[in-house]
Structures are given as C-alpha cells and as structure tokens.
Symmetry: C2
Subunit: 472 residues, 2 copies
C-alpha cells in the first residue's frame, strides 16, 4: 500500500493520507476490524479530494470503506484489509440555509446536531435525531437511513432528504433528486442511495428538508405496573388521534441499567415507563387526549376495542411541567442505555409491527431466562423499533475490555432476530446491516430479492470496490 499512499499524497497534498492511523479508525462504535487489518486512512478536504481518491482506487482496484463519524453500530465503517478508509469528517460546510424553500444544503461530514443548532436562530430544525446526533454525521445518517427518537412523528432520515451529491465508484460526481419539495423525474436514485451503507456510491453532500420549530413541547411520563401494560398503552395511543413526536418505552431492567450507570433512581420494581413528547399546536388538547387514551388521570379507561388486550390500568401519569426535569429524563433515555462497564454487552436493533410490542418484550425476557443472560430493552415504541441489550457480567479475572463477547450473547441475539421476524418484523430497524447482521440477510430477503440487489450493486460498482462485504 506504500505506493498507493505515495500516489494519493501526490494528488491530495500533505496531511490527508495516513499510513498509520489513529486506532479510533479501526472500527465503528460496535464492531472492531480483525486484528492486524491494514488500511490507509484518507481525509479529503473537499469533494474533489473524494473524487481523486476514488479515481485512483478504481484504477488500482483498491477497496474503499467510506466513513462518516464512525458512530455506527453495525460495522458499516469497519476497515477491511488492504482498503482505503475514506473519512468524510472534513466536509463540514453548511453551504446554504433557505427557510423559504425549507431546505438546507450540507456536506456529508456535518454533525447532525450542528445543523439543528445552525437552524435554530431561523426558527427551524432538522428532524432526524438519532440518539447519536451529537456524534454522528449527516452523511453517515443518510448511508444508514438513520432513525431516532422523533421519527415517530417526523419520519426517518429518508423523509428529510430531497437530493444528494454522490461520488460514484469511478470518481464521477453525480447529483440526484431536486431542490423543489416534489419531483418525479426518472428513477429515484436519491431514495435508492439512502440506506445503501456506502455500497453504491459515497455521499458527499445533501439537500435536506428543514422544518419550523414546533410552537410548544410537552413531556408526559406514564408509569405502568408491567411492560405489558405499557405496550397496551402504546396501542391505546395508536387508536387515539394523538401522534406523539417521540414515544419511548423503557422496561424495568432498562430503568435499572440507567440507575446503575447514572445513579438516577428511576427504577421501581417491575414497572415500565412510557416517555412521551408531544409538540406543536394545541398542546393542552393533545395532553388531554393522551391522558384519556392512557386511561389515567380520570380519563376514560381504554376499552381494548380492536386489539383484544386488556388495556392499561393503574397507570401513573405525570405531565413534566418542569423543563429541566423533562430534559433530564430525555437525557437519561438517550445516554443511559445498557448495562455498564463491568459487563459484556451486545446491543440489538430490531423492529416489529407496533401492535406486537408486548409479545416482543415477552420474547426478550424468555431469551434472557433460556440463555442465562441479563436482558433489558428500550423501544422507540411509536414505530415498533426495539433496542434490546444482552449482557453478562465480566468475570473478575478477565476484565479486558477488548475481549471477545461470550458466544452465548451471539446465540441469544440470533434467537432474538429470528423471533422479531416471526412477529412480522425486520432484522434491523435503524442501525443497518454492516457486517454485524450480514449473516441474517437470507432470513428476511428472498433469493429473488438478493439476486436483484446484487445486480443493482453491479450496475453501480462493477468492480465491487465500495464497502465490500457490508450491507448486501
């Protein structure tokens, strides 16, 4: 790779090509590369630098692993041996904000939360907000079609992208989509590229939708005696006209995780929490209808109508009028997940039709019992996306944090993924396939689908140089 590095230095100048990169580039937030993996790190300063890198990779048949902020959780940015890791982290320009067109034009390396900060003085925000929003980049979010807490109301990343600038495998710059809100000219390459995890092309910039900040926000916390009761609460919301901006379900074990990690003291026996954010106009009416749906605070009890479930009961509902308390709860939800440092931990991401939440939580508890492991789970309940955490205490004589996970955790994850499919769900709700979920693809996708996807890959990248071994 030395010759390649020299040629890249010649093209891109000093400070861009690294033959001995910082170990942080050896994996993403969940999946490290195999020990001894050798790769070149390239940090282009602009779109032309990305193109030059890809032209040379194309000429030399070198695999390219694109990388956003490296905050992924499925190995999508994990280096492979002999590859160029092409990080977009220096492409951080917000090129344009236009509130009248309701768009912003941003480069791939812009940190997701930074865009909303830049928009706030205009009274606008960028809706996609993965829990990693302060770390992850918009390019990485687009590559994985990232979700987040507020997609319950505002949709996933896909629903906030109008157009892309991508670099193709041979270095060609391609613009897709439109700046107008609508547009149906030709095949929708924008939508095909979103979520393709860098296997079809490399996103260098995007025209994204921005939205006016809601006129009001309110957090409602509902505590149910059991997780099944909380799941029934989600069904009750589904039947009602209220659609929360965010609706998070935390089971008893995940509340214990939070206490263990933060000392917050939020766990109470077997109770589970629904943490709901309402936003927009008529916040008082929304709150009233939410409380009525949840069957508390004197509202009518849920009659179980369509679903046949018993409906929530004994729910304690609190409107968190104190903004600091509300923000504290949201921060606990975002950062407190999973068992702490003394554990081997595998974080999962599956989605199911949202009426099946109670079944999914029962499955998770059963898997914990049967495999003799600890399980906890939070869910983006508004869209049926669960993040179970599977863990085992580290033995005191083996505290090495880089030790591989015990096989039983992988076995439990396999069980979980299969059960999610059996419930009518999917093997990944929002984290992507990367390398971590690759072996399960055939469980969800038919032979015809896989064959077709391989042909689409060939149409974009006939040499299979872009992120080989990932996603597809």
């Amino acid at each position: 790779m030395r010759g390649l590095a020299e040629r890249l230095r010649g093209l891109l100048g000093e400070g861009v090509v690294h033959t001995d990169p910082d170990p942080v580039y050896a994996g993403d937030h969940a999946v490290p590369s195999a020990p001894g993996t050798s790769f070149l790190l390239v940090l282009p300063r602009d779109v032309e630098g990305v193109q030059a890198t890809l032209r040379l990779a194309h000429e030399t048949g070198t695999p390219v692993v694109p990388r956003g902020a490296g905050s992924g959780l499925s190995g999508g940015a994990t280096p492979i041996d002999g590859s160029i890791v092409l990080s977009l982290e220096r492409l951080t320009r917000i090129r344009e904000i236009d509130v009248l067109d309701e768009v912003a034009v941003v480069e791939a390396g812009v940190i997701t939360a930074d865009l909303s900060e830049a928009l706030a003085p205009h009274g606008f925000f960028y809706a996609p907000d993965p829990a990693s929003a302060r770390l992850s980049s918009i390019g990485g979010n687009i590559a994985t079609n990232a979700g987040g807490l507020h997609c319950a109301k505002y949709g996933v990343t896909r629903e906030s992208v109008f157009g892309l600038e991508v670099v193709l495998a041979d270095g060609t710059l391609l613009r897709t989509g439109h700046r107008s809100i609508k547009g149906v000219t030709g095949l929708d390459l924008t939508q095909l590229l979103i979520g393709s995890e860098g296997t079809l092309a490399i996103v260098v910039a995007a025209t994204v939708r921005i939205r006016p900040l809601p006129v009001a926000r309110r957090t409602v916390l509902a505590r149910f005696p059991t997780v099944a009761g909380a799941a029934a609460g989600v069904n009750a919301i589904s039947r009602s006209p209220v659609r929360p901006a965010a609706c998070e379900l935390l089971d008893a074990r995940s509340l214990e995780d939070i206490d263990e990690n933060t000392g917050a003291g939020v766990a109470e026996g077997e109770s589970a929490v629904l943490l709901v954010e309402l936003d927009g106009y008529g916040i008082a009416e929304q709150t009233r209808d939410l409380i009525a749906a949840l069957g508390g605070a004197g509202g009518p009890a849920d009659d179980g109508g369509d679903g046949g479930d018993a409906g929530p009961s004994d729910v304690e509902i609190r409107v968190l009028e104190d903004e600091a308390e509300a923000e504290h709860w949201w921060e606990l939800r975002r950062s407190g997940r999973g068992s702490g440092a003394g554990h081997f931990r595998l974080g999962e991401d599956v989605a199911i039709p949202k009426s099946r939440l109670a079944d999914a939580f029962a499955v998770i508890e059963r898997i914990g019992r049967e495999h003799g492991i600890r399980t906890s789970a939070v869910a983006h309940a508004g869209d049926g996306n669960l993040h179970p955490s599977l863990s085992l205490p580290r033995p005191e004589d083996n505290p090495d944090p880089s030790a591989p996970l015990p096989p039983v955790l992988h076995e439990a994850a396999d069980d979980l993924v299969r059960e999610a499919l059996a419930l009518g769900g999917t093997i990944s709700g929002e984290h992507g396939i990367g390398t971590a979920k690759h072996s399960w693809l055939d469980l969800e996708l038919s032979d015809a689908s896989r064959a077709l996807q391989r042909r689409l890959k060939d149409a974009f990248d006939p040499q299979h140089l872009l992120n080989p071994g990932k996603a597809l």
Copy 2:
C-alpha cells in the same frame, strides 16, 4: 398476436383476454396512442394471473404496458404497438386494515378514495390524495409517486408506502419492504420501485401507512390583489410555524376558468386566491398564526425578512366556517381546472423551489403573451408544484375534439419546462414522465444519471419488455 391471445386464454380462462378492447384503453387521460396501434388487453383476476401473463410475455418477448385506472396525465399507460396492456383494475381487494400497526394491505387496483372510505369508520385515512383520487388506483399512484393536495403536510405517495408486492419481468413475485414502520434491511427496493412508472416491475399490492383522522379541519380563503401578492403570502407562511394540510394558489385566469366551467363566479379582476386547509390540534391557534402571517385581519404585516419581497398587503381573509362553502371551494379547485370544451388545452406539471412562485407565475404570463396563447395556473403552493394550463380557442370550423394540439402549445410547454429548470425546479412535480415528458429528460438528468438508470433498468428487465419507451 392471435396466437398469443389463444395461449393467454388457455392460461387465464374466459373474460380476461380482449383482442378488440374498448377504446378507453387506447390511452390515458392525456395521451392517446398512435392511430392504428394494435394491442391485447389482459384483465387478470388475481396476482397469479399477472404472473402468468408476464411469464408468457417473457417467453415470447412481448412488451407489457401496465395500467392502473388509466387516469394518468403523461402517457405512462398508453399502449404501444404489439404490446399486452395489463390492467390491474380487477385487483381491488383491501386485504387488511390494522389500526394498531397503522397499516392497510391493499391490491393495486383499489381506487385511492375507496381506501379512505373504508378507513373512515376506524377513524383513519390514507393521506395521498391526488385530485384524481376518486378515479385513480393506488397501484397507479405508486407507479407515478402521485402527489395531491395534502402532500404539503403528509408527503407524497412515497411517504405512505412501507412495502410492495411486485411481479418481475419474468413473472417472479417479489415482496419488498416491511410491515414495521421502520426497516433498513438491504437496498430499499420499495423506494426504487415507487415512481418507476411500471418500467422495473408491476405493482400488484402494497402495505401502506394509514393515519388517524385529524381532530379538526378549517378552510381559510385569502384573496390578494395580485398573484405576486399571493406568492408573497406563501413565503410568509413558510416563515411562520404554521404548516397547512393543503395550500393551493389559484391565479386570476384559473379563477376565470372555474367560472367558465362551472358558473361559480369566483373571479374578481386580477385577484388571486390562496385556499388553505388547516387540520389537527389547536385549530384556533393555527388560524390565528396563519392570519398573522398573511398580514391581514389586524395581524402584523409581513416584514419581508429573509426573502426581500414586499410582503402581502390588502389581503382579504375569510375563515370559511360553513363546511358546505369550504367543500364547495375545494371541489371547484379539484374539478374546475383549465379552460373548457371549446379550447385546445395542454395541462402542465412542473415544480420549483417554493420561494420562486412569484417568478414562476410571471414566467407563465410572459409565455402566454409571447406565444399568443391563453395561460392560467393553479399551484400546490405548499410544495411549489404548478399546474399551468396552456390553451387556444378551437376554430369554429374545426371542432373535432380528437384533433391534434396546435404546435404553438407544445412550443409554449417547452418554454415553460425550460424556465422551470432555470428556476431550480424539475420537469415533473407529480404527473410523471411517461411519453409526454420523455424528450426533456436530458435537460434535467446528467449523462451519468441516465446511464446509471439504464443499467438499473437492465438489472430488472434485461429484455426491456416492461413499459418500453416510457419514463426512462
């Protein structure tokens, strides 16, 4: 084609294969096939019938033109010589409605408005509502990624589809997507297929998102002295926190069209109308903020902040409290478009970044003057999608309604499409490319994009049998 018809009858039974079809199948609502075009009409009764037809077409190398309800406006369903026209009109089953999962599973031939009618008793609706919703089918809407009046708030068809059942060119049935609200497994074939106008595969069923009916609705009518004032009103709404469910702009000439077609008496000199629907919670607060934004009824005048425009003035705003009056206006908007029977008429569909509406209306007026034709235009102003109407009176000695349009209308349309692109827009906002807009594709799409789209077409349909000559 006689031998093919016999073989299809053998496979599909009686009453399915028609060698002498009703003339209604010879085109869509805007584009007739060339005189003398010969085709077979096949009306399968079920998905298996669609598969059998495609298997035989694949074996015999016969082109297939898929057809929804035939209400398209760009020639996407127009027969070509020697083809099978495969109509999905008998696949009308609503297989499932599940309000807890917020999905319905429907066959392609379900009429769009029928789904919302079926959902109403559950308190739900299906958001995509092209003006043709009482005629067009969900399959056709998916094939064109149809828009409509309410996409200003709820998005286009794309944003309401979770998964598809499609039949591939060789007759294989493929299921794409997910029933869960989120899902990121593999390339998003669902999104690639939406809007592909039957060139990649034939949609036979879809899992679509359904939404709770809004708790309230209100129509606000704002009349501005000029169309430029109405466009400034749209900008004022963009700056505000209000997001209407629908926001339609009708220029003075389109109001005259409505009067001519219906006798309604809505035109008043050069004034233009913004017809706005608000829905959801806090309808009174929304109305107050809308009126304030529009600068009327004692609200603060628009200060022109970001856009530099002067802002609306002398606007007359009426909240249409009478539901019948409101519905009358919406019906006029949906049905009254374009000059009437005594005219040659070409209806257009372009979209622009929505801050450029005033420029777009000025362009349309200039085109009318320069080409000596009558122009009028309505716009889905909330998303910058314009439907200009270009027309000329028919001479009294040539009242033949099937006579070809005078070339000057096509020349004016060409001018219009190029100007839309110059404003940063697109050649089609929501009607699709079909055959009508095919010649303009290269103005919007780069060589790299067109080449890539051809390779994707090859990946789906190597024999190029599916809707050849359309869309791509």
